[in-house]
Amino acid sequence: MRVIVELLDHQSGEFIEAELFDEVTIDHFLETQREWRPVVTEAALYLAKAGAKPILVPRHFHWDWTKKEADLRMLAITFYGLGCGGALQGLMKLLTVGHTCRLPEQAGKPLVYVDYLEAAPWNIKPLMNALGKAPRYGGIGTLLLEAAVQKSKDEGFKGRLALHSLPTSEQFYLKACGMTAVGRDPAKQNLLWLEYTPEQAERFITRGTA
């Protein structure tokens, strides 16, 4: 699947064409290790130097690429990439088994679980600001989340979707995306589990007009 979408180009203020695709390969994973991680690490160092709280340091570096390669063959796992300007700008991994709804009104029903979603660090404002730069492209998280909702609909899950949010993204998923906070998950470092009902998902992808 390859679909043309539009990203916001922060530098020009204009919209620029990008490609959303599901034919993710091991090369894309390697690209994130090679191009993304050093920038995140460097930005974290600058954040630490600037006295930003909390001070973040890398916990570990071990990355098992062989397991990721096996994931590419699983029907239950779907990856999406977002490419623009010849580089990977965002990556997402979805699971269609292994998690079910926790909201009481839809408890036990299948959903698409967002296992991983990341924008390239040069698109992330707090990281770029730490390096004295402006972010490059905007809207990546939103576009990937939209793709996840569409996947849920395609699978017959009616848009039901869930994820564990980082503390700094909770407000985005709650307020901007209209998800429901179900509760903190002790099995996942107390991260907040957020979920979409079909109605909420529909409202999100119809730009709030549903």
Binding site: L8, L30, R34, D115, Y116
Partner: protein, 159 residues
């Protein structure tokens, strides 16, 4: 879908995304908080990781297997395997000395990376972190890895 509405919506969401790290399980989630601003931002773990990465890259640069390196550097192969695969393992000082000799690396900085010498030099630690973040365990050294390796060895030699 209405293009104008799409763009307006995306612009609004992009601005809201800018407020934080909109990611699920990304690199930033592999970072942990340091409790005190006075501590060095990089711990011994990062130095050990740089030590392992440096040895792996130097070995691969010479196209040596672990077994071949053990034979040529006159080291115990089991220990060398342990050094490369177990970052919790503290190498014997003599082994680090032999590795420094074989790869023509400065011994004291290498001992510090191996966790055998204490170092409070923030720049030393940060360079170790940068170096480790730039290298990956794939078989052939990429141009970037070559460059990172050369730069880092140069830095170590200047300590």
């Amino acid at each position: 879908m209405n293009k104008e509405l799409d763009r307006k919506w995306l612009k609004k969401h992009a601005a809201l995304e800018d407020g934080g790290f909109v990611s699920v399980g990304g690199f930033i989630s592999t970072f942990e908080e340091k409790s005190s601003a006075g501590e060095e931002p990089v711990g011994v773990d990062a130095l050990k990781h740089a030590f392992v990465k440096l040895l792996q890259l130097k070995r691969r640069e010479r196209k040596l297997s672990v077994e071949e390196l053990a034979a040529k550097a006159d080291l115990d192969m089991a220990e060398l395997l342990r050094i490369e695969s177990d970052e919790g393992y503290v190498a014997a000082p003599f082994s680090v000395h032999k590795l420094a000799e074989f790869f023509k690396l400065p011994e004291r900085p290498l001992m510090a990376l191996a966790g055998l010498l204490k170092v409070k030099d923030a720049q030393f630690q940060q360079q170790a972190l940068r170096f480790a973040a730039r290298s990956e365990p794939v078989e052939k050294l990429s141009k970037e890895e070559h460059r990172a390796l050369e730069e880092y060895v140069k830095f170590l030699c200047e300590r």
